[in-house]
Amino acid sequence: MIQYIYRHIVRAPAKTLLGMAVALALTLALGFLYHNIISLQGEIDQLYAESVVNAEFRLEQDFRRSGRVLSDIVPMRVVRDILDLGIAKETYLEGAASAFLVEVSDAPLSVIDAPGGADILVGVAALRHLTEEPDGFMGRKISFNMEIQFADGKNESDFTYIENTPIPVVISQELMQRRGLALGDRAYIVYYEPVLFRQGEWRYAPATVLGIHDGAGLPDMVHGGAVIPLPAMENMLGNFTGFLTFKFAIDPAFNRELADVSEQLDDLLRCVVSIYPWRERLAVDIWDQELRFGVTALEQHVLLLQLLFPIAMGISGVIGAGLAMLLLLQNAKNAAIMRVLGMPKGKVQIVLWLGQIILCVVGGLVGILLIVAIGWRADLLTVVTPYWAGAAVGAAIGAILVTNRAPLDLLQVKE
């Protein structure tokens, strides 16, 4: 039996090659499709995992000074709520407050006597955010290139808030002239500390003029303002600290749920607006266009391939079945001869079936080896099984059909 099969495989090269080549080709085709699906999904996963989507609170108009407080800026509560959501990976904040910067003098301090209107304080985490191009901060370079002239013996590293020490302040030329301050002068920051449900209090904090800035990069409204460390501002105003700028990078872990994130932020803002109606000009923008643009096309492509793949598997099975059956039906006479010579019907079916299946298995195995050699990522069994299964069924049907015919009908010459 084995010899018969071997001889018929080796001595019919065209049939043998056809049987193997089709198995090989269809295995490779399915492997290619599968590999593409995996690769594209990998690209999508990578995009989601590595893309940094920035979000930014937008003041739809410049903030207003309303009496003693600044309104229409991002309140501390919103910042805390967003940070509590756990979606922010990195944040950039610029605080803003309304205060008076006055020179230290022997005269009693009186706010009412303070000359001119209130000054604007801007709180920043570090001066380099204003003076340098931070490296890829939240994926975007921010160029302010503010120029600062420091007091003698002072530099950027002195822009640090330490409790119970004077707050370092970098003021504008205009403020310097208006308040009669100079580099190195001691001063007071006189600020109104709001208190919930009752009248607030005026307070003052000692400060020292660390430097003079040229205003580059600051929003227009605070162009002439004084820059202090953000922790100092938060210490002064606590929960009443407001923010001029609130940007944050969304943690890439949430990139697949940006719609939900957007909804959460909208809900948050609605809540803020319901408490503070004047906050209605606050909005948050999520800059996800790049991510969406990149991902959408890929996701559509993957979906198409995922739809095509099972169809391709079906086609592979059908071709396997059809070809195996056709090639086997060509062996009808040989089957009849075997039966006439005394081989049991079942054994004839096995011989014919095996002869066909061996070709499919070899072809499929070569296909698998090629897939591995090329380095395609594919589930090897998934890509080869449809053809093998189809061929097994087709060959079985062919073997049954062939052996169900009366041998003499096939072997006799009809008149």
Partner: protein
């Protein structure tokens, strides 16, 4: 050797008998011809004698053993052998391999099978270099002789030949008939030839004439 007793055969879902009470005795050492026109039931009778089918009624015995109680596959492997008008050799096996095939099926050791096959081929006039040829590279007469050698390789003592000279010219046809007659007369085979050829009928020891599913006369 091979006895048919009141054989009747009817196809499934058919209302009439294809074979009608056929009785015949095929003796060893005799060259018997079965002749008859197309549709007379020769093929059906041949099929029953070859063990490819069983009669609807009646019995077939070989050397006193009832065919109905035998394994038909074994019967075809050991008791009867067939040769055909179109030779019906395996096209992808050489002449030698074709003759060895039945012995391989019977699990005869390879060396022994090869030796016997060579001897059989040479006994029918197929010598040396032609053993390694494929059927397509042999003449019709040579192919039929290889088929005879294959039939003999089984050890069967009954040879059924269906129009063995139908595809051969006169010369080769005569060679084949002579071989078959020698097998019958000199080696004791029961040779049964189904044929239209009147010359074969004339040369036979016994002739059964079939008509409408029965043996006439």
């Amino acid at each position: 050797m091979l006895q048919l007793e009141n054989i009747c055969y009817r196809y499934k879902n058919s209302e009439s008998d294809v074979l009608n009470n056929i009785s015949a005795d095929f003796e060893a050492g005799k060259f018997t011809a079965i002749v008859g026109p197309s549709g007379s039931g020769k093929t059906t009778l041949l099929s029953i004698m070859a063990g490819l089918d069983l009669p609807t009624t009646g019995g077939v015995e070989i050397d006193g053993e009832d065919l109905a109680s035998m394994d038909l596959n074994r019967y075809r492997r050991e008791k009867v052998a067939m040769i055909f008008q179109a030779f019906q050799l395996f096209p992808l096996l050489t002449a030698l391999e074709n003759v060895c095939y039945p012995m391989d099926m019977n699990k005869t050791p390879k060396g022994e099978a090869k030796k016997r096959a060579i001897a059989l081929l040479e006994s029918v006039g197929i010598d040396g270099e032609k053993h390694k040829r494929y059927p397509a590279n042999l003449s019709g007469g040579e192919q039929q002789r290889v088929a005879i050698a294959r039939a003999l390789s089984t050890g069967a003592k009954v040879i059924l030949a269906d129009e063995p000279t139908g595809n051969l010219d006169k010369t080769n046809g005569k060679i084949v008939v002579d071989i078959l007659k020698r097998l019958a007369h000199e080696q004791g085979y029961a040779v049964i030839v189904v044929t239209h050829d009147p010359a074969i009928a004339e040369a036979s020891d016994v002739v059964y004439r079939m008509s409408d599913g029965a043996i006439a006369g």
